[in-house]
Structure formats: C-alpha cells, structure tokens
C-alpha cells in the first residue's frame, strides 16, 4: 500500500485533474457534434416531408413486398434464418404483432403510418418503411 501511495504523486495520466480540468477544446467538439446531429436531422426532414400511403417490406436489403396502407392486411413475413414477423395493417397504420426474434424490439416499435417511418427487426433483417406512392418507384431502385 505504501508503494502504491508513493506513486500517486507521479500519476501522469489524465484522470484526476484531467478528468475535470485539462482539455480546452471540449466546447468546439461538443458544438461540432451538435451541429452535425442537427444537419443529419435536417437531411432526414428534407427527405421525408409528405404523408405516406404505401408500406414497403424488405428482407436483407431486398424489397420483397409492398402493401397499401388503406387496405387492411394480416401476413407473416419470412426474414433470414427462418425468422418470422407477423405484420398487421389496419386503419392506415402498420405494426408487428409478433416476432420470432429474442428481444421483440420490432414489436415494441409501435405503429407507423407517415412517410419515412420505419420498423426494423435486426435479427431477421426485416425493414418496414412507409413510402409515398409518387416516390415509390424512386425508392425502389435503391
């Protein structure tokens, strides 16, 4: 213990003072990060302005099916590795009622109806995205 105490004085690492003092360019970096965050948010806002009416279902990056939100539907989506997601469309809203994945995050994502809103199931690699019919063809090419 004594030898440990002896070394504290020589502590050259940036804790202690370094943890709270030191630095100086912190404000710059934080401001930069904030601005970058708002720029990304702005891009997102520009991309998705209109209301959507089509639900596009992709598995592993491939568009497998599109549904009209105005038509009620109840289907099972087959994801990768035998995973399944139970899709329900009703009253212009789409959501997942059941999923085979362990954490069920996709089920907890709730209902989507506006353009640009998404539900993602990472384990099954299933992506649901609401699109606007006019821009549907454009998005389909990605």
């Amino acid at each position: 213990m004594t030898e440990t105490l002896g070394t504290i004085r020589e502590e050259k690492h940036a804790t202690g003072k370094g943890a709270t003092g030191k630095g100086g360019k912190d404000g710059l970096l934080i401001t930069g990060l904030l601005i970058a965050g708002f720029v990304i948010a702005g891009l997102y806002g520009l991309k998705y302005r209109q209301g959507g009416d089509v639900l596009q279902v992709s598995v592993a990056g491939e568009v497998v099916q599109t549904y009209l939100l105005e038509q009620d539907a109840d289907v099972v989506i087959r994801g990768v590795n035998g995973g399944t997601n139970h899709l329900h469309i009703e009253g212009g809203q789409a959501w997942l009622t059941e999923a085979s994945c362990p954490d069920k995050l996709c089920v907890h994502m709730g209902r989507i109806s506006g353009e640009g809103q998404t539900i993602v199931c990472l384990p099954n690699q299933v992506v649901l995205e609401v699109l606007d019919a006019q821009s549907e063809t454009k998005s389909g090419m990605k």
């Binding site: 070394t7 997102y44 990056g61």
Partner: protein
C-alpha cells in the same frame, strides 16, 4: 515482478467481469429507453476507466474480450456483429481523442457514445441497405451524446476514486517502482 504480473492479471480479470455484468444488466432492460435499441452504455465506464487509469492496450483488450464473452454467454451471432461494430468505432474514436490531449474525459465519452451508435447504424446499413436507417441515426446520434455525457461524468468520478488501487499497473511513466 511476479506480484506485479499477478496483480495485473487479477485487475484485468476483475474489470472484464465487471464489464460483462454491466452488459448483462443492460440486456435485461432492452426497452428501458423510449427508443428501442437505445442504451446507457454502462460498460463504457469500465472501458474509460481502463483507458485513463491503466492504458490504451488494456482498454482495447478489455473492450474486445468483453464483447466476445458477452456474445458467447448471453447473445448470438448477430449481436456480436453489432456490438463489435459499435465497440470498435467508439474505442478508436475515444483513444484517438484522448491522445490529442485536447479534451476532457466527459467530452471523449460523448464522442465515444456517438461513435458507438454510428458504428451500429453503419453495421446495420451494410446488411439492410436501406436509407430508412437515417431516422434512427438522428435519434441515436443525440441519444449517444446524452448517454456519453452521463457515462463520462460517472467515469470521471469512478476514476478519481479508484485510480490509486490500480496505480501499480506497469506504465512507461513509472519504471523504478519494483
């Protein structure tokens, strides 16, 4: 010399175990935050502590071992892929920023939090190829800043209190110790 080695091994073991427990605790509350997938990143306290109080090598080692062990024990293949993407990117960013010496610990942590989430979104983009992920990036960008700030404050406190217990750790700055 033997005692130093033994203490180093036990310190690493303890920190990895701590990181694993924190990861596990977080995995128990997946919907803890409003947005699915959002996490506090408690494990990053251990990584930051290692980075600042022990050294870069130990931070990298603890981070990687922790990711692998947690995936083997509690997760699955897909979890490893995303964890690794987040851990690697945030690790690189934090080490790089710390090396410049321009930033405080909390700022390094904030950048690390953002980098972690960006890494995971990038990993998801590789698989899913959809621009739909942009929406999540917006949310997770700010969430990463917030959780990074909280974790940074906690790490600074933890570091301040615990550094003397690991100060025997061999580092270039104290050769004449033994």
């Amino acid at each position: 010399m033997q005692g130093k080695r033994a203490r180093r091994i036990s310190t690493y073991g303890m920190l990895i175990a701590l990181a694993m427990i924190l990861s596990y605790m977080e995995s128990l509350v997946p919907a803890f935050w409003a947005v699915p997938g959002m996490k506090l990143g408690l494990t990053n306290i251990v990584v930051l502590f290692a980075l600042y109080c022990i050294g870069t090598d130990s931070a990298v080692g603890i981070n990687l071992l922790r990711v692998f062990l947690v995936s083997v024990l509690f997760g699955n293949g897909f979890g490893l892929y995303y964890s690794l993407a987040g851990a690697l990117l945030s690790g690189l960013v934090m080490i790089g920023l710390k090396k410049t010496g321009w930033f405080r610990m909390i700022t390094v942590s904030v950048a690390g939090g953002v980098a972690h989430n960006v890494g995971q979104i990038l990993a998801a983009y590789v698989l899913l190829r959809t621009q739909a992920l942009l929406g999540y990036l917006v949310i997770l960008w700010f969430a990463g800043m917030l959780s990074g700030a909280l974790i940074g404050v906690m790490s600074a406190i933890v570091c301040e209190r615990l550094k003397r217990f690991v100060s025997f750790e061999g580092n270039d700055s104290r050769k004449g110790l033994e």
